[in-house]
């Protein structure tokens, strides 16, 4: 696989070089040039600067693509504290509803776009996909440093035809990094803020080197902050870099890399009633380890020590156990992404882009948990955990769900301008991911700290080993090999003097998953009657042919009408491959599960005038086989296709050019969602019972989202104020439970020093504020599959479903931070 890619890359480079030479031969001679100038008038040189403008406070650009698309530019990215993650940057765009655990963004959070979750959206960094290959989750705090971003764009409805996604039934969020600067520069930025936020950032740009062909940058940031409620911290180190090499006139080679190393303590999620009685400050216990509340009970042979006994919390007055002690809730993760690009102009009308990438990650999420010495998991016995010689105790442990992922892939695309009015794109994507998931236990010391947070130790004194063996007890142990690939082709024709543009595309996307169950151990233990070293469960395949069509018509230079229709797909997560029943057997849970597909129809109008830029888009998403938890047979409740969902609405955004120093931006989104079918939610008397969800709204899909941003800039001073309104949201499919609407107001204020002092050539000091009016609200909803929050009658009119529940994460309180950024080096 790699050898083939290398050969292809070599071949393409050779082609590029010869093409460049061929171009030189075609250059007219001096005489020909002179002849031309005699009958030809030279108009002059016109400079065009890119789209990093101050339009609409940095939240809108002059868009032309025939589908819904919104962009945050560098200007908009400057409005938020630099520790922020990409979800926070796109907060005000139409269709976006996001909330992070805290204002710093270091702990992560969630997002929905038109009601679709992150694991239904595609997420790319410079074109490379970064969704988890197993369950398509995205952890935004792991990928970027704000200073190195050029823009973030969102296609709310669908990913592009050439997108490398199999888990995107909704749209795509794309992150674009800056290129290295053309001149030598050293930037340093220091941020301090509430929550003891401390962040140091440094970036070095070489400028053009090696005769003007190559340039690169490398940056490093170190951040830490305390949680705003309870105890615990976030610690993050991040490296970004890019190497850019110009090959011939319009070809380039570049390498982007990022490395992130972070360890956070989790914030505690709470039920609605806990939020209502204990308030948003409810958190994990901090009192364990103090007098009267020891972490571990002294071991006594023959006497059962039960560390799972609950006590009344002196902090909250409710029952709690040692498992809720804060140092036991840890999220360590390190990941790297390398993205190489050959962007080659092979001939005047032919471009080739070859972009291999590699995603690597290791880490997990760990929580406190008690286990009984007499018990076992997946057929693996715990045995004496506290060393007192008996096996009757229940002991506090730390269990971590660990993930190890390696995903190399490559995207290749040819763009051929057949004629001035006809363009074709053809290409493919191939990726082979290996995803190993384990769930080991670690001992906990007398201070309540896990001995092995990173789950890297192999010592049986640190990690809990199976009684009498030298290998670890695992709550799960599975390997998923996922091969994703796609072929795509797209043609665009421009008619009537380029006023009418028609695009048609077809993508074939496929994913094959091979699940290797590495439990029960019996299967892998030689001599055991169940021994089967080739134990592997059947492959699952999901593939879809995904057509797309789009039309845009430019009425004149300011008005554009567009319409598009696209089919999207999202494959089921890899956990449908594995189930761990009491005996520890792994098997495919549901042979009938299908990929979620959707048809997205959009139509809209864009106005781009000198002062005003606006767009209004109507959308209609028709989902088939929506994936959620359901009762698929009398004995199994799991992820399943629950039928159709329709999400429709209107998105509007407006931005202005600077006027008297002010720029304005506003967005409004109206979303109407409807479940088409009843939900198979339970079983009684051997018969599956249905919840009457047909006609109900989707969870976490607010009807109204409103946002605005007012920016002001004048002689060095700059400021912005950004309010956002999120409407009420249901958290059950029966719509009998909801979280209130809320308004948050963010702001920034700063001053740019334009003077230069010696090597120091510019400085900026910025004050950032988030949720300045300290709104108290429930921001994140843990599960979007909760059926009902109160007792509900089944469709048969007889059976009664009892209430289910989910957890929430409150929005973070008012936050203020300040950053000083200084640049050193040459002038532009």
């Amino acid at each position: 696989m790699w050898k083939f890619s290398t050969a292809l890359l070599m071949g393409a480079s050779v082609l590029a070089m010869s093409a460049a030479h061929a171009q030189q031969a075609a250059t007219p001679t001096a005489e020909e040039e002179a002849a031309k100038t005699e009958t030809s008038s030279y108009v002059g040189r016109i400079e065009v600067q890119g789209a990093g403008t101050a339009l609409g406070s940095g939240y809108i650009i002059r868009e032309e693509t025939p589908k819904a698309r919104s962009t945050v530019t560098r200007e908009g990215l400057n409005n938020i504290v630099p520790s922020s993650n990409p979800y926070q940057a796109i907060n005000v765009l139409p269709g976006i509803r996001q909330d992070q655990d805290d204002a710093t963004g270091l702990f992560g959070g969630d997002i929905t776009v038109r009601g679709l979750r992150a694991d239904q959206l595609g997420f790319t960094i410079n074109g490379a996909p970064v969704n988890d290959s197993g369950n398509f989750a995205v952890y935004p705090q792991e990928y970027t440093d704000n200073e190195n971003l050029a823009e973030i764009f969102v296609t709310q409805g669908s990913a592009d035809t050439d997108a490398p996604h199999v888990g995107a039934s909704g749209g795509n969020i794309g992150i674009v990094s800056t290129q290295p600067l053309d001149y030598l520069n050293f930037r340093v930025a220091q941020t301090i803020g509430e929550e003891n936020l401390f962040r140091t950032f440094g970036r070095f740009d070489t400028g053009w080197i090696s005769g003007g062909d190559a340039k690169m940058f490398i940056s490093y940031s170190l951040s830490d902050a305390d949680k705003w409620r309870g105890e615990g911290t976030a610690d993050r180190a991040h490296v970004d870099g890019q190497f850019y090499l110009k090959i011939a006139d319009a070809s380039s080679f570049s390498v982007n890399w990022l490395y992130n190393d972070a360890i956070n303590n989790f914030y505690r999620q709470m039920s609605k009633s806990q939020y209502e009685t204990l308030g948003r400050d409810f958190e994990y216990d901090t009192f364990w380890g103090s007098a009267g509340y020891p972490i571990h009970l002294t071991g006594v042979n023959g006497v059962a020590q039960n560390e799972s006994l609950s006590v009344v919390s002196p902090e909250y007055g409710i029952n709690t156990t040692r498992s809720n002690f804060w140092p036991l809730q840890v999220n360590p993760f390190r990941n790297a992404v390398v993205n190489v690009k050959w962007n080659l102009q092979l001939a005047d009308d032919l471009r080739l882009d070859i972009e291999p990438y590699l995603w690597w990650g290791y880490g997990g999420g760990g929580f406190g948990r008690t286990e009984s010495e007499a018990g076992s998991v997946n057929g693996m016995a715990f045995g004496d955990l506290n060393g007192d010689g008996d096996q009757i105790d229940t002991i506090l442990l730390y269990r971590s769900s660990v993930t190890r992922t390696r995903r190399p892939g490559v995207i290749t695309k040819f763009t051929w301008e057949a004629t001035e009015d006809l363009t074709f794109k053809v290409g493919g994507w191939y990726e082979k991911a290996q995803h190993r998931q384990t769930q080991p236990y670690s001992y906990v010391d007398d201070n309540g700290v896990p001995l092995d947070v990173w789950a890297l130790s192999e010592s049986c004194n640190t990690v809990v080993c199976v009684d009498g063996q030298t290998y670890a007890v695992q709550g799960r142990d599975q390997l998923t090999k996922t091969t994703g690939y796609s072929f795509f082709g797209e043609g665009t024709v421009e008619l009537f003097d380029d006023a009418l543009k028609i695009t048609g595309g077809l993508a074939y996307r496929a994913i094959e998953r091979d699940g290797y169950a590495l439990l029960p151990i019996a299967i892998l233990t030689e001599g055991n009657p169940s021994y089967d070293p080739d134990a592997k469960y059947p492959q699952v395949n999901y593939n879809e042919l995904l057509p797309s069509a789009a039309v845009s018509y430019n009425l004149d230079e300011t008005s554009q009408f567009f319409a598009s229709a696209t089919k999207n797909m999202r494959a089921p997560s890899n956990f449908v491959l594995f189930t761990y029943n009491g005996a520890g057997t792994a098997q495919i849970i549901d042979d009938n599960i299908r990929a979620e597909t959707s048809w997205v129809y959009e139509a809209g109008y864009r106005y781009t005038g000198e002062f005003l830029t606006a767009s209004v888009t109507g959308f209609y998403n028709d989902f088939q086989d929506y994936l959620a938890t359901a009762q698929i047979d009398p004995t199994t409740k799991t992820t399943a296709n629950i039928g159709g969902v329709v999400i429709q609405g209107v998105e509007l955004e407006v931005g202005t050019a600077p006027w008297e120093g002010f720029t304005f931006y506003a967005s409004a989104t109206y979303t109407d969602s409807e479940l088409q079918d009843d939900l198979a939610n339970g079983v009684s008397g051997g018969i599956i019972r249905y919840l009457p969800t047909a006609g109900k709204e989707l969870t976490d899909t607010p009807e109204w989202l409103l946002a605005a941003s007012i920016g002001y800039e004048n002689s060095g001073f700059f400021a912005s104020i950004t309010p956002k309104y999120v409407d009420e949201r249901f958290f059950t499919l029966m719509n009998d439970g909801s979280v209130d609407s809320y308004v948050t107001v963010d702001a920034s204020l700063g001053y740019r020093f334009d003077e230069s002092w010696g090597m120091m050539k510019g400085a900026k000091i910025t004050l950032f504020g988030r949720n300045l009016f300290d709104e108290d609200y429930l921001g994140q909803i843990e599960s979007t599959s909760t059926p009902n929050a109160t007792s509900q009658l089944a469709t048969d009119g007889v059976y009664v479903f009892s209430a289910a529940s989910t957890n929430f994460t409150p929005g973070s309180p008012a936050f203020v931070g300040v950053t000083l950024t200084v640049d050193f080096g040459e002038s532009e």
Binding site: K36, I46, T53, V188, Q190, T415, S756
Partner: protein
């Protein structure tokens, strides 16, 4: 290096404090620590004499041809030059000072030359004005390409386009004279489709039903 990690907050804050102090002191006192800017190159020494009037400047030759090709380098094989600040326009050759100030006023040839110039080329002036109008229209509708490839690859380069306008200002034909890659070429051509050029003045390019123009569009991702 453990100590570096342990003391990182204090080190970072100290450095920040120093930088902030330097910036604020510099800002408040208006002290500019930059080295003295190099003085502009002196022109030739201006001599004032009461002697005979200087050699009359010969009448201006025929108006100079369109700007020399130096602006349109034909060096595709050379690597792009590192981006330097635009060199300032070479200082206009100093005209000998008009002798009027110290000489009895006479009809100096220098004064005569411009009149002669104007009398010869009102058409050229009109054509130059039209070219300026074409340029202004391109300036008004210029836009960096917004395709996905353009946003992700952010190419930079100069595209020389040619276009033929009819007397009514309609674009009859167009093409690329000097390519900068298909992404930017497309951006340049799209600009042309948005442009609305005025009709030719009656006297400009008399006898020609169409006229060919070239323009160099320099794209910078910004």
């Amino acid at each position: 290096m453990e100590w570096l990690f342990t003391w990182r907050h204090r080190i970072a804050l100290s450095v920040t404090g120093v930088l902030l102090a330097v910036i604020l002191i510099g800002w408040f006192t208006g002290v500019n620590f930059m080295p003295e800017p190099k003085p502009l190159p002196q022109g030739p020494e201006i001599m004032i004499s009461l002697g005979a009037p200087p050699e009359p400047t010969p009448p201006e030759p025929e108006p100079p041809p369109p700007p020399p090709p130096e602006d349109m380098p034909l060096e595709p094989d050379r690597p792009r030059e590192p981006i330097k600040p635009r060199p300032p326009r070479p200082p206009q050759p100093q005209r000998p000072p008009t002798p009027q100030a110290v000489q009895p006023p006479t009809n100096t040839p220098a004064a005569a030359a411009p009149t002669t110039q104007q009398a010869v080329d009102p058409i050229r002036v009109m054509e130059a004005a039209y070219i300026a109008a074409v340029r202004a229209q391109l300036e008004a509708i210029k836009r960096y390409p917004t395709s996905k490839e353009a946003r992700l690859q952010r190419p930079k380069g100069d595209v020389t386009i040619w276009f033929v306008l009819s007397r009514s200002g309609e674009v009859i034909d167009s093409g690329i004279e000097q390519s900068a890659g298909s992404i930017l070429d497309r951006g340049a051509q799209t600009a042309l489709t948005r442009a609305k050029f005025p009709p030719f003045p009656a006297e400009a390019w008399r006898g020609q039903q169409t006229h060919r123009f070239t323009a160099k569009i320099g794209f910078t991702p910004g």
